[in-house]
């Protein structure tokens, strides 16, 4: 069985670059394959979101397989919103059997944000409990119920999310620690715009030695316009955008170019922060800009 390539790279000390593709709201995988092919030489792995913002989309397992077939390593996102522990474990076994090696364990956006707000949410387990389930399947070969797994166990490289910009701020590092204690091997953070707060967060992370226990990959996002920046600032839960970024976007003659420039600056800054093991570029609906950003950040052909 092949192991996670991403895990190998991280253990070799390579500064990792991951991208993200949001699967389509239909059954045609062409766009996923196209983006994966475009990103192939620029990222080490690609996240496939699991019905993000609670909108029904092509499943993250299937999307991961398409990416894998296109020659890129997938990071399958898995939320606890829509599946109970039976379905989650079943999908973990299935995903591993299809060659998927990385899983990012998430709570998931609340269904009230999506296109089926009348749906019943599941939340049988929470994201930390899911991390523990994936770890126990791998390391102890037991199911959540305690029953032994006889045969090939799914050996996932386990990911979790951290949001340094949500509240209560002081608890964010403790929650990260809980996720690592539960079994997280790598962490992908919420999009970083507020570098000051992120630096503060990382200082707390280093103080507790957490950067040595898990690989922390910082999220970045290129902004397309001042309007998009304001929307992120005002309407997206768990994201903060400082005023100076909004002003820079407002003053720019070519906002897209400015957005790319800001993103590249941020990546260069993040590379210098002790304990940051890579960057996760979230450019959903603007996936084709990722190669430009990677090149400008000097992360191409590392």
């Amino acid at each position: 069985m092949n192991n996670s390539k991403m895990q190998q790279l991280l253990s070799q000390g390579k500064f990792l670059v991951t991208g993200e593709i949001g699967p389509p709201k239909h059954a045609n995988p062409e766009r996923i394959i196209k983006h994966a092919t475009e990103l192939k030489d620029y990222v080490d792995a690609i996240n496939l979101t699991d019905n993000q913002t609670a909108v029904v989309r092509l499943s993250s397992i299937a999307a991961s397989v398409h990416v894998l077939q296109a020659g890129v390593e997938p990071i399958m996102q898995m939320t606890v919103r829509d599946r109970n522990r039976i379905a989650l474990q079943s999908d973990l076994l299935g995903a591993y059997s299809l060659g998927i090696r990385n899983v990012l364990c998430l709570s998931g956006d609340h269904q009230s944000f999506g296109n089926h707000p009348m749906a019943k949410n599941v939340h049988d387990v929470d994201s930390i409990q899911l991390i523990q389930i994936v770890k126990n399947l791998r390391d102890k070969k037991i199911f959540s119920c305690g029953e032994e797994l006889k045969g090939q166990e799914p050996r996932f490289f386990i990911g979790a999310a951290a949001n340094p910009f949500a509240d209560p701020f002081e608890f964010r590092v403790l929650r990260l620690e809980k996720k690592i204690n539960a079994g997280a091997d790598f962490i992908q953070t919420q999009v970083v715009f507020d570098m000051e707060r992120f630096e503060q967060f990382m200082a707390m992370v280093r103080k507790r030695g957490l950067h040595k226990e898990a690989y922390i990959i910082a999220g970045v996002m290129p902004l397309k316009s001042a309007r998009a920046a304001k929307f992120m600032q005002q309407s997206v839960a768990g994201i903060t955008v400082p005023e100076d970024i909004i002003k820079r976007m407002e003053r720019a003659d070519d906002p897209k170019q400015e957005g790319i420039a800001i993103c590249v600056e941020q990546i260069k800054h993040l590379q210098k922060i002790e304990g940051v093991a890579g960057v996760h570029i979230m450019a959903v609906m603007w996936e084709d800009i990722i190669p430009t950003i990677v090149k400008e950040a000097g992360l191409h052909n590392r």
Binding site: I128, A166, P168
Partner: protein, 224 residues
């Protein structure tokens, strides 16, 4: 208490269809306290329905009775003398328990007059809030007396999700983040260490997932 609110008048009018005589049954328990199904509300619904049907030229006869509790067979039995042959429909203005106890006892078409909302209490005059998810295995000792099962919109057991901002839940700025409340309280009580313990998946078999739940107390059962 069980908190309930009235169904819209048009809905209740549809539920009784073309009935000529209805028995409207109130409850003096929780729904009286939360002002939705007590004697007063029974009277109001009865007169509204009569008025509506009078306007439609299809007069309705109503009988109004309010029981001490509809969730108790002893009181449900006292309704017997009002359940006459000419009653076409019984409207229960209790919670869902009352509706079912009436339906189990009487061979009549029983419809709910209320929507049963939750187990909660009054926070200010005219405002009721949910507090208990009736999950069957109380964990409030782990969370400083604040229930994450029902007050966190994702029922998280290990801390706040990434959508908690400035003390509010991501789904609605009117809803306090339960985990912010728990964090603040644990900090004030010097018990933050408890929040670092990883809580295992909950045993939902003690909750609603196993069909009808039952509590049997041998010590209070009457010997035959």
């Amino acid at each position: 208490m069980i908190v309930a609110e009235s169904k819209p008048l048009t809905e209740v009018a549809n539920l009784i269809d073309n009935a000529k005589k209805v028995l409207i049954v109130g409850c003096s328990g929780c729904v009286t306290v939360c002002m939705s199904g007590g004697q007063k509300e029974v009277g109001i619904l009865a007169s509204k329905l009569r008025l509506l049907r009078k306007k439609e030229g299809n007069p309705l006869e109503t009988v109004e009775v309010t029981l001490t509790r509809q969730c108790d067979p002893e009181y449900v039995e006292t309704l017997k003398k009002y359940v006459t042959d000419d009653i076409d429909v019984i409207i229960s203005m209790a919670c869902g328990v009352g509706v079912q106890f009436l339906a189990e006892r009487y061979n009549k078409w029983v419809v709910p007059g209320l929507n049963t909302k939750f187990a909660g209490g009054t926070t200010e005059h005219g405002v009721w809030e949910e507090r208990c998810g009736l999950c069957g295995e109380c964990i409030l000792y782990k969370t400083g007396g604040i229930c994450p099962i029902i007050r966190c919109s994702k029922s998280l057991l290990n801390g706040p999700c990434g959508g908690s901002q400035e003390g509010k839940c991501e789904i609605n700025s009117e809803i306090p983040c339960a985990w912010q409340l728990i964090y603040d309280r644990m900090q004030a009580l010097g018990r933050l260490d408890l929040l670092m313990e990883i809580q295992p998946p909950k045993d939902w078999s003690k909750s609603r997932d196993g069909g009808l739940r039952k509590v049997v107390r041998e010590d209070v059962k009457l010997d035959e």
